[in-house]
Structure formats: structure tokens, C-alpha cells
């Protein structure tokens, strides 16, 4: 018994000792007044261009793009103050005067040309995105860009995070990327591997100067720990939160929670080829009429998402819409399935005695994907359609998808990202598109998106994309499921933060601390 007591005492002493040692260092809390500390899920990796489409440079505004997007995803002047299409394939971009890079060099058409050439050479997807044939310096501050074909979406494509304008000093003599030197309100200061990236205010910025003098992007990969860091006062701002934390912090007056629909759609891509029963358009429409998207948002995402009944987010005025969105209609679904030769037997849909079974594929690297996929399958089961759900890695899923060994693949894309319908419609649904593994082939749709990208804004363009959206609705190669909603939270003294709908832009220059 004495030994027991002794041990207890030892333990108590050890705990106290650890406590005493731990109190000695500074109290871990409260960030500096002129600094915003951001907890991020991904490491920023500022010394490389490739990772994650180099979005960090745009997100953190170390770099500016020629054209920017406002909070409704309409194009607004960036480093270019205006642009005009002088012929179907030639654009002139008039550059902002008196803009300097962080290293003091001046921005002119030559510098922009050099930067875009480096981007196209170093990032494999840039060439496809921009469709540029050649560039030339028309005047010191006018850059002429000739595209491979008439391409009206160019200004929108130039808002993409990867097209930020780099100073020559960002590259070494061999043309390889070294570090980001741009024109943005924040200049790159320091990178500590696996820990943080620091940017500081650039006083020569051409626009309104930031209120704060420093932003620290701290890498905290775990969702729970990131929220905890905010609550402990170690960071001022976090995003990519768990739904349960969103609910909890919303009730706490020490924090502000931000939530807004942004670019991004979770959808089921149907296999319209011979290997799938969904080659029958009536089945594709029936599936669309059977699945209650509200239940998916509530069941799989704890309400953090917008039920998707159409392709583009309904909040964007510029986005084309079909005449009617999809809607829940079991009566319609029943008659469509009956037309297609299916009979409901004991609640289960069958054809010639064989049950209707859909193979649903998805990938688990995105946290919310398994939940959405399971919810979709559960709702189909409830309505008498059997399912076979299989989760893979993204690459593993694509392997099956390319071979047509699937019926529905649940995916996530950001079709509204550049504020132009061309980005996604052409690259995913056009029958000649490299990314179209749905075996869906619609001549009317191909014609509409081929024409749409050549047309300047106006009634003809609107009409063309309206036509494309109606085909996408009627021929239903997809089932839209959920429009993405982005959530973030900050300490209550953080002022002026707004979620930007592109998903690639923090706009911390407008943020201040009380």
C-alpha cells in the first residue's frame, strides 16, 4: 500500500513537473496584431509551380492575373485594364500603367509575353487552356495574342489561377522556375518546409494597399487540429472545416463562420455507351427524376451544399440554363422505365427477369465523395434500382471508366471557375474531347459548344449556350447532385473577409483586424 501511495505521489509529481516545464515558455495564443495567420489543409509549396495548378500564387495574391473575376464571377480588369477582339482570332490586351514587380522591374507587354510563354512551356495543361498560337508586343503596353482558332473565352481563361504573371526574376537562366516574384499586394518572404509560408505587404502595389502587413499560411493537415488551432488562438482563419465544427463554431460568439456556394459541382457521369443500360436516354432521365438531391445534401453533407437540379450554380447570372431544371417526379420515372421495357416486381425494377443494377464508381481521396456516392446508391435502392458501389483511387477509377466498365461515376469539377461555360462543356462533354469517357455523342451539342466559344458576348452566344444546356438536360448524360458550398471560420476580430466563388482567391488585402 505504501508503494502504491508512493507511485501515486511520483505520478502526481511528474505531472506537476511536466506542467511547470510547459508553463515556462510563452503562452501559446494570440497572433500579432498586424499579421493574419491562416491554417491551411494543403501545404503552400511556393517554390514550385506545378502542384495543384499553382493556385497558391493566385489564392494568396503574390501574382496578379491579366483579367480577374468579381464576386459574381464576371470578368473585371486585372493587370489588363481593357481588352478587345480585333479579329476573330486576335486579341489586344491593354496593360495597366505604372505597375512594378516585387523586384522593382516594370510591367510591360514584353514581360507579360515572357511570363505567359514560360507558363505554357512549364505547365502541361496551360497550352490547352489558353489555345494560344502566338503573342506579340503591339505597343509597349499592348499585348497582342493570336489564338489557334476563333476563341471568345480567352479573357475568361486568363483568369485561371495558373496564368498569373511572373517577373523574369521568377525563373533562372535556363528558364526554370525558382520562386514567385509578381505584382500582387503580397510578396513572397519565407517558406519553412512542412510548417508555413509567409508573405508580406508590397508597398509598390498598384491597387489599394492591404491593411495588414503580413500573412502567414500555416500548414495544418488535420481538420480537427485546424479548428482546434483557431480555438486556441494560434491561427486567425481556417477553411475546409468539418460540418460538425461549422455547427459548433456558429454558436460561439468568439468566432465568425463564413459559408457561401462557390464554383463546383458533384455529379454522376453516366456511361452512355453500349456496355451500360444507361445508353437508353429514358433510363438516364428516370434516374434524374428519382434521386432527391435535398436528401443527399442533408444525409451526406450535413446540409453543407446546395441541392443541384441543373448544371451551373443558379446564383451566377452569366451562366446559361436549360428551360427547366430536373425535378423529383416518381410518376415520370415510372412511365419512362416502363417505356424502356422495365417492370416493377415486388418493388424492384426488372427487365426479362433480370434486375436493373447500376455499377457506381467513385474515389475516396476527396473526403465527401464516399458519403455522396453512398447516398446516391441508397436513394436508387429505395426506388427499386439495385446498385453496386465501388470506391477506388482517382486513377483506379479512371482505368475502369476509360474501358467503359461502369454505369455512373461520381465526380467533382469546378465548371464555373473561369466564368465562361466553355471551360467545362467543351472539355468534358464534346464527343471529341479528350476527357469524354462517357461515350456520349450528340451532334447538336458538339455544334453548339463549337460555335459558342467563337462568339463574343451577346444574344447569339446566350442563345447558343442555352441550346447546349437544353440538350444536356434532355439527353441527360449526367445527373447533377450537389453544388459546392465553401465554409471557413475566423476569430471575431477579423474584418472584411468574403468567400470568393472561384475557390482560388482569398482576397486578404481587404481584411483587417480590430
Amino acid at each position: 500500500m505504501t508503494i502504491f501511495r508512493k507511485t501515486l505521489c511520483t505520478f502526481a509529481f511528474a505531472t506537476l513537473a511536466i506542467g511547470a516545464i510547459a508553463t515556462a515558455p510563452q503562452k501559446a495564443a494570440a497572433t500579432e496584431q498586424d499579421t493574419l495567420v491562416v491554417g491551411t489543409m494543403w501545404e503552400a509549396l511556393p517554390l514550385a509551380m506545378q502542384p495543384r495548378r499553382s493556385r497558391f500564387f493566385n489564392e494568396s495574391e503574390i501574382l496578379d492575373t491579366l483579367v480577374k473575376l468579381d464576386y459574381d464571377l464576371n470578368t473585371i480588369p486585372g493587370l489588363a485594364t481593357s481588352w478587345e477582339r480585333v479579329s476573330p482570332t486576335v486579341w489586344h490586351f491593354n496593360l495597366r500603367e505604372n505597375v512594378v514587380f516585387h523586384d522593382g522591374t516594370k510591367l510591360d507587354a514584353g514581360a507579360v509575353k515572357y511570363s505567359l510563354e514560360r507558363v505554357i512551356a512549364l505547365l502541361p495543361y496551360a497550352a490547352d487552356l489558353l489555345n494560344i498560337k502566338q503573342m506579340s508586343v503591339a505597343e509597349p503596353l499592348v499585348l497582342a495574342i493570336e489564338t489557334n482558332e476563333p476563341f471568345a473565352a480567352l479573357p475568361n481563361q486568363l483568369t485561371d489561377a495558373i496564368t498569373g504573371i511572373y517577373a523574369k526574376a521568377s525563373f533562372n537562366d535556363a528558364g526554370e522556375f525558382v520562386k514567385p516574384v509578381g505584382t500582387g499586394p503580397w510578396k513572397f518572404e519565407e517558406y519553412r518546409k512542412q510548417d508555413r509560408t509567409i508573405v508580406t505587404r508590397f508597398d509598390g502595389y498598384w491597387g489599394e494597399k492591404p491593411a495588414l502587413s503580413k500573412v502567414e499560411y500555416r500548414f495544418i493537415p488535420d481538420h480537427n487540429s485546424r479548428t482546434l488551432a483557431l480555438e486556441a488562438g494560434e491561427v486567425d482563419f481556417i477553411d475546409n472545416m468539418l460540418p460538425s465544427d461549422v455547427a459548433r463554431l456558429s454558436r460561439d460568439e468568439n468566432f465568425k463562420v463564413y459559408s457561401k456556394p462557390i464554383a463546383g459541382l458533384y455529379y454522376g457521369a453516366f456511361n452512355a455507351g453500349d456496355k451500360s443500360p444507361l445508353s437508353d436516354v429514358r433510363l438516364r432521365q428516370a434516374v434524374n427524376a428519382l434521386v432527391d438531391r435535398d436528401l443527399i445534401v442533408k444525409g451526406a453533407l450535413d446540409g453543407i451544399g446546395e441541392p443541384a437540379w441543373d448544371f451551373f450554380g443558379p446564383q451566377f447570372g452569366w451562366a446559361p440554363k436549360a428551360d427547366a431544371p430536373f425535378k423529383l417526379d416518381t410518376g415520370l420515372a415510372t412511365s419512362l422505365l416502363n417505356d424502356a421495357g422495365y417492370e416493377q416486381n415486388d418493388g424492384k425494377w426488372e427487365k426479362d427477369g433480370a434486375p436493373l443494377t447500376l455499377r457506381i464508381l467513385s474515389y475516396s481521396s476527396r473526403t465527401e465523395m464516399p458519403a455522396i456516392t453512398e447516398a446516391l446508391a441508397a436513394l436508387l435502392n429505395q426506388n427499386g434500382i439495385a446498385t453496386d458501389v465501388q470506391m477506388y483511387t482517382w486513377e483506379g477509377m479512371l482505368d475502369l471508366v476509360k474501358r467503359g466498365e461502369y454505369d455512373i461515376s461520381v465526380v467533382f469539377w469546378t465548371p464555373e471557375m473561369t466564368g465562361h461555360p466553355d471551360l467545362h462543356l467543351k472539355s468534358q462533354f464534346h464527343s471529341k474531347a479528350g476527357l469524354n469517357y462517357q461515350f456520349w455523342n450528340n451532334a447538336g451539342f458538339d455544334e453548339a459548344v463549337d460555335t459558342g466559344r467563337t462568339l463574343s458576348p451577346g444574344a447569339e452566344k446566350d442563345e447558343t449556350y442555352h441550346r447546349a444546356m437544353n440538350i444536356l438536360h434532355d439527353d441527360a448524360p449526367i445527373i447533377p447532385l450537389v453544388h459546392k458550398v465553401s465554409v471557413g471560420a475566423s476569430a471575431k476580430d477579423v474584418e472584411g473577409y468574403r468567400i470568393h466563388p472561384s475557390g482560388f482567391f482569398y482576397d486578404f488585402k481587404s481584411v483587417s483586424k480590430d
Binding site: M1, I3, F4, T7, I18, G19, A22, T23, P25, K27, A28, A29, L45, L47, A48, M49, Q50, P51, R52, R53, P124, Y125, D128, F177, R192, K193, Q194, D195, R218, F219, I220, P221, D222, N224, S225, L228, A229, E231, A232, E234, S365, Y392, T393, W394, E395, G396, L398, D399, G434, L435
Partner: protein, 351 residues
């Protein structure tokens, strides 16, 4: 991840087989030589040669396994750099060309091995930085965690285990037993958050995560030490109890030795070799296997690097991790065996 675990397990089995073979009397004919070579040194050389062959085998296996993953290899790598967007065929061809992925596999392997010999592990496909800088950081951080956690665990577990063995089935034994089982079975992800809640949020003493100062190391060390302490103290207890039931203990007691003296001077020295081997295993486990704890505390350990690299398809980094982890297991085994032979001269013959 599964695959790497299996490799490591097999690797470990192979190590054991090797040491067993050595124990079965595998010897080099050094006695016929005119000059006398220290038998210990020659056996050590043999062990190291074994280790190198094993490393080579692991590197070949790792190389081959990665190529057997689903999808076209060049396309998968390129896609990982493009945020999951599918590249077109010409881009894939160009990428494969610049990275030498069109050469026959043996050529690619030898090229990699050649670079390795010169200390060049290549550039990361994701960060474009030399992998060696990442690896060095990860080794340092993993070592800090492994050494601290194991030291804390040993400091706690050995006294607890001894107490339990001296007073088996007493209250203290039962209480310690319960605590040990809780320590072993408490889920790390939950326990980590609990500690962070207490020490960071409620008390404000320690940072919630990150690395760089010793305060950052305390919470992850505590979490890992807790689980290892449970396992170790049970191990000490059971091996000591087994030792105490042997006839020589009875003899020592019969000679009039006091219980404490018998335990400390006779029994404990005999459980040290087993304890060393067991601690070595735990050390290797902490070094590369604490992925959840590392993620929760944003601690850049080697285990998390392997997982990140696998998810990003950062091929050169995966290769480096495979090799490093294999090397760490082999090295830990070697160090443990040598330590035991230094501690116990009788075992020198069999190292």
C-alpha cells in the same frame, strides 16, 4: 499503405531468418588465415553484407510494385501534377520522354541506383526540390519523436513492470494492468485531440501542432509514449514473472537473498536482452508508423511523407521512403543485436 506494411513485415521476417541462420553456425573460414581477424568483426561484416543485399532486394521490389499500380504510369504521374485533370496523349509522351520513362525498366532502375550511390535521390515530382532535403528533415523529426517517446516509455514502463512482477495479483498490479491496457488500446486520434484540448485549448501551455521547438514535441511524444508504455510494461512484467519462476531464483532465495536483491541483481539482468529486442521493434514502429499522430500534430515524420508521396504519386519520393524505412528496420535490428552482444558476452558468438 497496405503494400508497404506487408513489405516491411516480410522484411522483418527475413531479418529474423538471417539472424537465425547466423545462430545456426554460419561462419566464414577466417581461422585458416595466417593473421587472426577478430571473429566479432568478421561476423559484423557478414551481417552488414546481408543487410545490403536485403536493401537491394527491397529497392527492386519497391520499384517493380509501383509500376504494377493501375493506370498508365506516365499518365498517372502527370495527372497527379495536374490536380487530377486528364492530360492528352502528346503531353504524356513528352512527359515520359523528359523523365526517361520510355527506357526499359532495368535501365531506369540502374539509373536511379547510380544516382543513389552519389547521394542523389532525384527531384520530387511535386515540389521540384531535391528529395534528400525532405528526407533529411523527416529523418530528423522522426528520430526526435522516436527517441523521446521510447525514452519516456522506458522510464515509466520498466519500474511499473517490475513492481507488478514483484507483487503479482496485488492491487498495484491490477491497477497498473488496467492502466496499461487502456494505454495500449486508447485510439491515438482521439487521445491526441483530448491532450490537445487540455494542454492547448484549456490550459494554453502547448501549441496544438507544428514543429520546430521542443514544446511542439511534447504532445506527440506523450501520445506515443502512452501506447508504448502499456505494451512495454506488460512485456517487462510477463518476462520478469517467467524469470522469477526459474530454479536459480529459488536457489538465490534459498541462499537467503532478499526479494528485492534477487529481482534486481539476478532476474532483471536476464530480461534485458529480450527487452532490448522488443524496444528496438517499438522504436522502428514509432520511426515510420505514427502517421495519424504525425498528421494530427502536423509533425513532418517519415511515415506521413510516405503516405503523402503515395497519394501524390511522387514516385522518386516513394522510392526513397521505401529504401529509408527498410534501412531503418535493418539498422535497428543490427544495433539491437550488437548492443546485446556487448551487454552479454555469451551471445557474441551468434551476432
Amino acid at each position: 499503405m497496405e503494400i508497404s506494411c506487408i513489405i516491411l513485415m516480410q522484411l522483418h521476417i527475413t531479418c529474423d531468418i538471417n539472424s537465425n541462420r547466423a545462430r545456426c553456425g554460419f561462419e566464414f573460414p577466417v581461422h585458416s588465415a595466417r593473421w587472426k581477424i577478430d571473429p566479432m568483426a568478421s561476423r559484423l561484416a557478414a551481417r552488414i553484407a546481408h543487410a545490403l543485399v536485403l536493401l537491394l532486394a527491397v529497392s527492386v521490389a519497391g520499384f517493380a510494385l509501383l509500376r504494377l499500380m493501375p493506370g498508365d504510369f506516365a499518365e498517372v504521374l502527370l495527372m497527379a501534377q495536374m490536380d487530377g485533370t486528364l492530360p492528352d496523349a502528346s503531353q504524356v509522351a513528352r512527359f515520359a520522354d523528359t523523365h526517361g520513362l520510355n527506357d526499359p525498366l532495368p535501365v531506369q532502375y540502374l539509373r536511379w541506383l547510380g544516382g543513389l550511390m552519389q547521394g542523389d535521390l532525384g527531384l520530387s515530382l511535386v515540389t521540384r526540390e531535391p528529395i534528400i532535403t525532405d528526407i533529411l528533415l523527416r529523418i530528423e523529426q522522426s528520430l526526435i519523436l522516436a527517441i523521446c517517446a521510447l525514452a519516456v516509455a522506458l522510464l515509466l514502463a520498466v519500474p511499473i513492470g517490475i513492481l507488478c512482477a514483484i507483487y503479482p495479483d496485488s492491487k498495484i498490479d491490477r491497477v497498473a494492468g488496467i492502466i496499461s491496457v487502456i494505454g495500449m488500446s486508447i485510439p491515438n486520434f482521439w487521445y491526441s485531440l483530448l491532450l490537445a484540448l487540455l494542454f492547448s485549448l484549456a490550459l494554453g501551455w502547448l501549441p496544438t501542432g507544428g514543429h520546430g521547438t521542443w514544446q511542439h514535441a511534447i504532445l506527440p511524444t506523450l501520445v506515443i509514449a502512452t501506447s508504448i508504455t502499456g505494451v512495454l510494461s506488460r512485456f517487462v512484467r510477463s518476462s520478469l514473472l517467467e524469470e522469477l519462476s526459474k530454479p536459480y531464483i529459488r536457489t538465490a532465495r534459498a541462499k537467503g537473498g532478499r526479494r528485492r536483491r534477487v529481482v534486481l541483481h539476478h532476474a532483471i539482468p536476464n530480461i534485458v536482452p529480450g527487452l532490448l529486442t522488443f524496444s528496438g521493434l517499438q522504436f522502428a514502429r514509432i520511426f515510420d508508423g505514427m502517421i495519424i499522430v504525425e498528421t494530427l500534430f502536423a509533425w513532418p515524420g517519415i511515415g506521413r511523407y510516405l503516405v503523402e508521396s503515395l497519394l501524390n504519386r511522387d514516385y522518386p519520393a516513394i522510392q526513397a521512403c521505401f529504401l529509408l524505412i527498410a534501412a531503418s528496420y535493418i539498422l535497428v535490428n543490427l544495433v539491437v543485436d550488437i548492443t546485446i552482444s556487448v551487454y552479454d558476452p555469451r551471445t557474441r558468438e551468434i551476432v
